[in-house]
């Protein structure tokens, strides 16, 4: 889960990392009084969005009066920066800086270790200057980091104790009066460590795409909550702009099938995925979410040859939802694996009872070919 700048800075502050004085504003009307309360003449008004390239998108405004702050906040709240909604606005003291550095801590898939990235080249557009960044692998078991880099050890303590996947401070700046200060903070928490961080429940929900969750995404996210959250997955759902509802089984297959759908010229109304032999109830809940989207003109229920996910159990959940909605648009099903015969019979029975326009395919037809079968319905 990605944190907003203000959440990230609050977290860093708790570990002794200096951050600028700031006030969070949740509505444009509060901006002027926040400015007065802050007590700095020159401030930055910063849109809180889960997007990089914020500065380039005009999300940071320089202001020097309550009126300017109020106007800037009103504009930012009204804007959607690069399609990202502005969740809040931060009014922050503007510091006089002598240098801007880049500092981040994350996991490196190649070395399979945490790595420190540090460069004396921070600020916006750092992606273009990454060759100047030094990469320092760390052992996750080490207690301390003894580096000359400012706040290296504080960052390390935060990284471990808070189960982050990424902390990026860009820029880590030096002020004219010689202080080091974290002027921005990008933090990603590891969702798989949620079981040991009850406090994470207080973060407002947010979508994978940086925007707020849609109603359907919220309903789907609830599917995998509760004590048995790890017993099968059925809560990964993202609303998209197309008109083909999809119900994908398997994480890898879902990725291959998003590509396959695009290859036959269809556009998905959603992304979703269930896997790990989820119970009927979880799949039912997910299928209901998929079918609830208005404007669908087709449905693709597809997965590979399952290892141990029961086709009849998971299809029973899909059928429960189909019985409720009885869609009139074409439906293509491709699936194989344990109890595939019973699963297909269940699906065929549902189609016959409700007069559904359904085509059923097993493993003799590839997933891509079943996408083509759906495309030929239009």
């Amino acid at each position: 889960m990605n944190l907003y700048e203000f959440e990230g800075k609050d977290l860093l502050s708790r570990y002794g990392i200096a951050t600028p004085n700031r006030v969070l504003v949740r509505a444009a009307g509060q901006a002027a009084s926040a400015y007065r309360a802050l007590g700095h003449t020159r401030v930055l008004v910063k849109a809180q969005v889960l997007s990089g390239k914020r500065a380039a998108l005009g999300g940071i405004r320089r202001c020097a009066s309550a009126e300017e702050v109020a106007d800037a906040a009103a504009e930012l709240f009204a804007a959607a920066l690069g399609g990202f909604p502005v969740a809040a606005v931060l009014v922050e003291e503007e510091l006089a800086l002598t240098s801007e550095h880049y500092l981040s801590l994350t996991y490196d898939t190649s070395s399979r270790c945490p790595v420190f990235l540090y460069g004396q080249v921070g600020g916006s557009g750092v992606e273009q200057r990454l060759e100047a960044v030094v990469k320092e692998p760390l052992d996750i078991r080490q207690e301390r980091v003894n580096a000359l880099i400012p706040f290296a050890n504080e960052l390390w303590q935060c990284f471990k104790a808070e189960d982050t996947r990424l902390i990026e401070v860009n820029p880590l700046a030096k002020t004219v009066d010689g202080r080091w200060i974290a002027c921005d903070a990008k933090v990603a928490l590891d969702p798989d460590a949620g079981f040991r961080h009850d406090s994470w429940a207080f973060y407002e929900p947010r979508g994978a795409l940086g925007r707020l969750l849609t109603q359907r995404e919220k309903l789907a996210a609830a599917i995998d909550s509760g004590p048995a959250y790890y017993r099968g997955t059925a809560g990964k759902y993202i609303d998209l702009d197309g008109d083909i509802g999809v119900l994908f089984a398997g994480g890898g297959a879902s990725i291959a099938n998003m590509d396959a759908l695009a290859a036959v010229g269809l556009t998905p109304a959603n992304y979703c995925e269930y896997s790990g032999n989820p119970p009927r109830e979880k799949v039912h809940a997910l299928a209901k979410v998929v079918l609830s989207k208005p404007g669908l003109r087709g449905l693709w229920i597809v997965g590979g040859v399952a290892n141990f996910t029961s086709i009849v159990e998971t299809f029973a959940g899909v059928v429960d939802a189909l019985e409720e909605v009885k869609p009139s648009y074409p439906i293509v099903v491709r699936r194989a694996g344990p109890q595939e015969k019973e699963g297909m019979e269940l699906m065929a029975g549902c189609a016959a009872r409700n007069g559904l326009r359904m085509q059923l395919f097993g493993k003799e037809t590839s997933m891509s070919d079943s996408a083509a079968a759906l495309a030929s319905c239009f």
Binding site: G252, I255, N307, S368
Partner: protein
């Protein structure tokens, strides 16, 4: 021959008293894998599927010194201690089936395993199968299905997806090929074993004549392949499909499918494909094409 698992594989199942562990014990045994026993702290003395359960890996090893592989089926919060226990006992291969292990715990255990020379496959692996010899985990599914999909043969399979391990293996089986070993390496951001360890093993394995990979966008593991091919450490025909072209339209940081399939600048499917092609690796447009690409290089195994 095959790699990683064979007739000498002797397995302890950590977490065998749980639902998934019990099912895996059955799936392995019916396929002919030697499952010695299980381990669940506090449940020592119980029997599961006629196999004894011990309180610790050390006790299990005392009773069955031939154990060389652990299949780990515990809840995510217990994964770190289970993995460390197996590592500290020096079991040479850990197949970690647990999903949703915190990345910090994975990093910790991989560091410990590296020190001890222990190979870890996973986390979030569904298992490993060397057709006709043995399997770890439930890869292939019920016995009848596993026999239909997997036959001893010449194609090595590496996949970041469990379902696609089966699906890709099936596409080859359908075309008349068999497999040497199929490995589900897991889709997490940090995994213990990836292409750079497996390709040299397949290179050394006389049974393997070609390797296919189901990869995904995100991470840097696919870039390692380029190095292996360039330096001649892997010379057999190699075909790869990298899922996630669609993800180029998603904002950076979005995670789709697996935890490791994260949208990052310069690490998308297209960037990876371009580099691999340049190194001479065959790149499939869609996963079904892997069979066509390999068919041009390798004759059907008898």
């Amino acid at each position: 021959m095959a790699i990683l698992v064979n007739r000498d594989t002797a397995v302890v199942v950590q977490g065998m008293t749980g639902k998934e562990g019990r099912r895996a014990c059955l799936a392995m045994t019916e396929y002919g894998t030697r499952v010695c026993c299980g381990v669940t702290p506090g449940k020592g003395g119980e029997m599961i599927e006629e196999k004894p359960v011990f309180n610790s890996v050390a006790e299990a090893l005392a009773a069955f010194p031939e154990i060389n592989t652990s299949a780990i089926y515990v809840p995510p919060a217990a994964a770190k201690s289970a993995m460390l226990e197996a590592v500290n006992c020096g079991i040479s291969l850990l197949n970690v089936i647990v999903e949703r292990v915190p990345i910090q715990d994975t990093a910790y255990c991989l560091a410990a395993a590296r020190e001890r020379g222990v190979r870890v496959v996973g986390p979030s692996s569904l298992g490993i199968i060397s057709p006709g010899l043995a399997r770890i985990g439930v890869v292939g599914g019920p016995l009848e299905l596993a026999r239909e999909i997997f036959r001893p043969g010449s194609v090595g399979v590496i996949s970041r997806s469990g379902g696609m391990t089966n699906e890709v293996s099936w596409q080859f089986r359908r075309a008349g090929f068999g497999q040497s070993t199929a490995v589900h390496i897991g889709g997490d951001l940090l995994i213990g074993t990836s292409y750079r360890e497996l390709l040299p093993l397949f290179e050394q394995d006389p049974q393997t004549l070609a390797v296919v990979i189901f990869g995904e966008h995100g991470g840097t593991q696919e870039f390692d392949i380029v190095e292996l091919v360039k330096t001649g450490q892997f010379q057999k025909p190699l075909a790869i499909y990298i899922g996630g072209r669609f993800a180029a339209a998603f904002p950076e940081g979005a995670t789709i499918g697996h935890a490791g399939a994260i949208v990052e600048a310069g690490k998308g499917a297209a960037e990876k494909e371009a580099l691999l092609r340049k190194a001479g690796v065959m790149v499939a447009e869609h996963y079904e094409q892997l069979v066509d690409l390999i068919s041009r290089k390798v004759a059907l195994s008898p």
